[in-house]
């Protein structure tokens, strides 16, 4: 799975904020940050900041709004990485 590495790096980031640890253990592309991981919506901005730091990218407001699932987040991260 080409995304496995990205998912693992993302998992390490969201593990700080996820309140549902079971869903965290079975994290996959379809996982939703709020509905599955039970991340407090206020913490989504913290996830984004951590992602920026981890991947050394800058995520603009438009991209930020899309990052509600693992799949969407990976898409944003890959797009930003390819711009580098």
């Amino acid at each position: 799975m080409p995304n496995e590495n990205l998912i693992n790096r993302l998992k390490a980031i969201v593990s700080t904020y996820a309140q549902n640890k079971e869903a965290l253990n079975s994290i996959n592309e379809e996982t939703d940050f709020i509905n599955d991981l039970k991340i407090n919506s206020a913490n989504l901005v913290d996830v984004i900041l951590d992602v920026e730091e981890e991947f050394d990218i800058v995520i603009d407001n438009d991209a930020m709004e899309k990052m509600l699932t693992v799949k969407a987040s990976i898409a944003v991260i890959e797009a930003k990485l390819s711009e580098k």
Partner: protein, 427 residues
């Protein structure tokens, strides 16, 4: 009919003791929590001593989740949460562990400023054009009601949740507000308290006003000297105190231990008229506040056994004693015993009233009077008014029935509360 109101839980984070046991032992021993403060020295403060609660990471960890501690830099919220949670546990009350909050349990928790260190970090980030890097925690840690928001969430409180702010009278006022809400039947339990941040960004303004002492930087424990002949200004302090306030009926129904009864009190303002100003009290208002508190509590001045004063170690101490003498119409050997905690803790500002109310309740419940430390030679103006023995310098093992406590604050505001030792035969 109005509810009777009692105190059933206590929590304290004070410079001379964290937790009830350590705090009471410090009170009885007359132990100072004032230490040399290297940070104040480095920043070239005139006053380089302070009172800060001694807390290590292991003391803090049980009260916060790892997520809450991420980018956490609000000492006021930290002190308030620890004192508040401790008082709740001390009262034997549960946490709400289901979807529904406790609709009849509320909170009045005072704060002067919140998370000033976090605020400072945020200002640096903003000025460096990094507002987007602030993350989610700045608002929660720097809003004045932050301490109340943290506490009510942890406990699951569903009644009124409010932060009061009235300078150095805040803590005593919060107890009175809790009392009023329960007396009127709008809540059955209210957590009352107040907290105050530590550090140079809280204390700098006071240092600049020259109201803090600068004469005891080499002898920190002797620095805070209320009522003494060589008092030379207050020592800045910090911390939090918390009291669980409850209707007598509710407390009895659940078999709670009752520390003391709140008989009543009063808050007022001198309106910055007469001799009152932004920073000095209008004595007419102070005396009126004390008299109204007694009247409201249904207690005569002659019944008062013990006064816990505001008494910060400035030139105002003698004025305060004069006000007590006139308000109670008692002087010399007829004056009640009087003490102040500030010799041991410094002036804990917003939190002072709450920490001192905890000390007051402990004295009533456990039959002692803590000593006024650093008051070997009492101020001559004070000795003209009251007998020297009424200002104890040693711990007295003595039962008090009625205790009156007052706090005064910038803006010419006053709060005064009357507490009574509780015994089963009162019920």
């Amino acid at each position: 009919m109005d509810n009777r109101v009692v105190i059933t839980g206590l929590g304290v984070v004070a410079p001379n003791g964290v937790g009830l046991e350590a705090f009471e032992s410090a009170l009885r021993a007359g132990r100072s929590g004032i230490r040399f403060d290297r940070e104040l020295e480095e920043l070239k403060f005139s006053c380089q001593i302070s009172g800060k609660p001694q807390l290590g990471e292991a003391d803090i960890a049980p009260y916060f989740s790892p997520l809450e501690l991420r980018n956490f830099n609000s000492k006021g919220i930290m002190y308030g949460v620890i004192a508040g949670m401790d008082s709740w546990k001390d009262a034997g009350l549960p946490l709400s562990d289901n979807e529904e909050p406790f609709w009849d349990y509320g909170l009045v928790f005072g704060s002067g400023t919140s998370g000033i260190d976090r605020f400072r970090e945020a200002i640096y980030d903003i000025d460096a054009l990094n507002v987007r890097r602030l993350g989610s925690t700045v608002v929660l840690q720097t809003m004045n009601s932050g301490v109340s928001a943290y506490l009510s969430g942890k406990l699951g409180l569903g009644n009124q949740v409010i932060t009061n702010s009235s300078a150095c009278s805040t803590g005593t006022e919060s107890l009175l507000m809790a009392y009023e809400r329960i007396r009127s039947g709008k809540a059955s339990v209210v957590l009352s308290g107040a907290t105050s941040d530590s550090g140079p960004y809280i204390w700098g303004g006071f240092d600049a006003m020259k109201v803090c002492t600068y004469k005891y930087n080499q002898e920190p424990e002797q620095g805070s000297r209320p009522m003494s002949s060589n008092a030379s200004g207050f020592v800045p302090g910090s911390g939090a105190g918390a009291l669980v306030v409850e209707s007598l009926d509710h407390a009895r129904a659940r078999g709670a231990r009752i520390y003391a009864e709140v008989l009543g009190g009063h808050v007022n303002s001198g309106g910055q008229r007469g001799k009152g100003s932004m920073t000095a009290p209008n004595s007419i208002a102070v005396q009126r506040c004390i008299r109204e508190a007694l009247l409201h509590a249904g207690v005569t001045a002659n019944e008062v056994d013990l006064i816990n004063g505001h008494l910060t170690a400035t030139a105002m101490d003698a004025t305060e004693i004069q006000n007590w003498v006139e308000a109670l119409d008692r002087s010399g050997t007829d004056f009640p015993y009087i003490n102040t905690l500030k010799g041991m803790t410094g002036h804990c500002l917003t939190a002072a009233g709450s920490i001192e109310c905890v000390a007051s309740v402990l004295q009533l419940h456990n039959n002692f009077i803590f000593p006024n430390i650093n008051c070997e030679v009492q101020h001559p103006e004070i000795l003209k008014l009251v007998d020297s023995e009424k200002i104890p310098r040693e711990t007295l093992n003595r039962q008090s029935r009625i205790l009156i406590k007052a706090s005064f604050g910038f803006g010419d505001i006053n709060a005064c509360i009357v507490l009574k030792k509780y015994s089963e035969s009162d019920a």
